[in-house]
Amino acid sequence: MTEREKIFGRIREALTVQAPLPGHHGGGHHAPLTGNPAAHAREWLPPVGDSFEDQLARFRANAAELKATFYLANNREELAKLLLELRDVEGWKKVASHGGELTDAACKTLALPVCRTDQPFNASELEACDAGITECDALIAQTGSVLVTNRSAGGRALSVLPPHHVVIARREQLLRDLPAAFELVKKKYAANYPSMISFITGPSRTGDIERILVLGAHGPKKLTIFCV
């Protein structure tokens, strides 16, 4: 008998006795199990408005609280201007990126040497880049998160190894909440999921020393999100 079979044997034997339903100690009745309790998550999670403006305002406020920087560009020209400003203020010498309609345009605008992560690359070279520029799958208003996968955002390391992560998103990528984000992941990828799916909520941080917030613990110290 394999170890797997032994473990399953013990599990099946354990489950021959029914456990009481959750909440049985609290007294009173609880709603019967619906088969998919989390399906109603939207009714319980923090509220988000219906309109694009509401959701945008919510995303902006969350990003500010998370110490991420958020810019809404009205058109591609404005985006290019904002990118050049950022390049000069931060003094970027070399950036890293991946192929994509928005990222290709950004790299062209920046006119800097680029380390591409959608072809074989060296981790030390990527680490030495000033910024990692990626696209994403969605922005989530409810939490201020950026949803990336290794397919949409140039692999696993690009969005976390360079000291500054720059995300370029389209405004139609702004989603209401977490349930909507999982719905999108399923719709977009169910036939063949990427091997990494990540919700990035603000720049890397730690509170491990006296619960004092420090940004850039291991991942990026800065997160800049452009929406166009």
């Binding site: 989390a38 923090p46 190894l161 349930p179 909520t201 020393i209 619960r211 850039g216």
Partner: protein, 464 residues
């Protein structure tokens, strides 16, 4: 060597008198409480979310055979090697086997309580491998050669001065005591480790049956790097981490963040479903997932306490527990401390050796009230007490209660208690506070209540 119970009592005695320690821990927890309450308050209906989370975990655990098989099969279908371990020793051997096969020398780890449970670092170091913890708090306690103080905040018991002194000594740097500068020291040291490590090792917060993925919640990005750079990735997780559906995370990720650190959502919540796939340019070439039982199936077999397996290891019950807050995390001498540790350790490591943890509780119920998946921890502590006494009745208690019922069944004897007690209390100051005092263990830290000058019966008789 002293028993776990004696060790607990001695350590607790020391730490409850250590005001500096208490101050550090209470300050950290007050900061946590403020943000936790804010995040909870942002929910439209936090209590309904908790109930749904409890029901989802109930569904997962009570059909564990089905969901665990689905998880393992879907993971394997996309090129992950899935391993099964009944004991900690088996899990260690599997992991050592992978390391040897890859001819690896160095291992970078992101935080995994399961690896603490099976004492993995010790085993790997014993075999001569370099193991580096990458979570800042874990890195700090590893340098101190200590176990994590708390399952979410491993270095909560240290001040910036302690950490400055540690880093300057162990890492040969000259850092100030600013948390920012200290964090950057660790960042510099660990960055090189990620790039050069042969194996990336992680734990997991959830295992999604529907899609065959593990989910890791973290703030620092250390798990992201651990899963991105080394050529081989290994994840160790308990079989109870299962969630049925991908969208369950829409509920569990905010609940874990709110209860764990007080954030609305933790910085990185990442799903991994396999090694590098065709057309991907980074990530590990090989991915191994080790599923650990380590007596979880025994807890599963106890329907009364099965829901202790619902635990998502957020640490919320530790943070609100008056015992934890006074005796500290190391005093428990267990991998999992606080109320959840007191509940499950007797199942994982033996009831008689660890029952003292269930007795070291005020039964205030703060743990049950705060648990995001509604595990009724306070009741489970009572059940452990009951089970421990039923299995091995205590001579002192049994004799005590026999004497009690003997006296209370005899009105003549009962009548003597008042007058005798009053005489006893008059004589008490002669021995009070000394070892001759029969009530020493009570009176060394407390005053005994004064016995009334007359009993109710005496009072009633005089009144008429």
């Amino acid at each position: 060597m002293s028993s776990p119970s004696q060790q607990f009592t001695e350590q607790a005695e020391l730490l409850t008198h250590d005001l500096r320690h208490r101050d550090i821990v209470q300050t950290a927890l007050r900061k946590y409480e403020v943000v936790r309450d804010k995040s909870r308050g942002a929910f439209q209906d936090y209590q309904a979310a908790r109930q749904a989370a409890a029901e989802t975990k109930w569904e997962a655990l009570n059909h564990l055979d089905k969901y665990l098989a689905e998880f393992a099969d879907k993971l394997a279908a996309r090129g992950t090697k899935v391993h099964w371990a009944t004991t900690g020793e088996q899990a260690r051997d599997i992991i050592l086997g992978i390391i040897r096969e890859k001819k690896a020398r160095s291992i970078i780890k992101s935080k995994a309580m399961t690896s603490e449970e099976i004492h993995l670092n010790h085993a790997l170091e014993h075999e001569g491998f370099e193991v580096v913890e990458s979570d800042l708090g874990e890195f700090i306690v590893q340098l101190r050669k200590e176990a994590p103080y708390h399952i979410v905040f491993p270095a909560m018991h240290l001040t910036r001065g302690d950490i400055q002194e540690l880093f300057n000594r162990e890492l040969k740097v000259h850092s100030s005591d600013s948390p920012e500068e200290l964090t950057m020291v660790a960042r510099r040291v660990l960055r090189q480790k990620y790039i050069h490590a042969d194996i990336g090792f992680t734990g997991a917060n959830f295992a999604i049956a529907e899609t065959g993925m593990i989910s890791i919640t973290e703030n620092e990005g250390n798990a992201r790097l651990t899963a991105a750079l080394p050529k081989t990735m290994v994840t160790l997780l308990g079989i109870e981490k299962i969630l049925p559906r991908l969208e369950d995370l829409a509920l569990f990720l905010p609940l874990l963040a709110t209860s764990g650190t007080g954030q609305a959502l933790t910085c990185y919540n990442t799903l991994y479903g396999g090694p590098r796939q065709p057309g991907e340019f980074d990530g590990p070439e090989e991915y191994h997932v080790v599923l650990l039982d380590n007596r979880r199936t025994e807890l599963l077999a106890d329907p009364e306490q099965r829901d202790a397996l619902h635990c998502i290891r957020c640490g919320a019950c530790l943070n609100v527990c008056p015992i934890f807050r006074n005796v500290g995390g190391h005093t428990y001498g267990t991998t999992y401390s606080g109320p959840i540790g007191s509940v499950i350790t007797p199942h994982l490591r033996g009831l008689q050796d660890w029952k003292h943890l269930s007795f070291s509780s005020s039964l205030c119920g703060a743990c049950s009230e705060t648990c995001p998946v509604k595990i009724d921890l306070a009741h489970h502590l009572l059940q452990n007490r009951r089970n421990a006494s039923a299995e091995k009745p205590s001579f002192v208690w049994r004799t005590g209660f026999r004497i009690f019922s003997f006296i209370f069944n005899r009105p003549g004897l009962y009548k003597l208690i008042g007058p005798l007690g009053r005489i006893g209390q008059k004589l008490h100051p002669l021995v009070k506070g000394t070892r001759l005092d029969p009530a020493y263990s009570w009176t060394k830290t407390r005053e005994a209540p004064k016995i009334a000058p007359q009993t109710f019966k005496e009072y009633w008789r005089k009144r008429n």
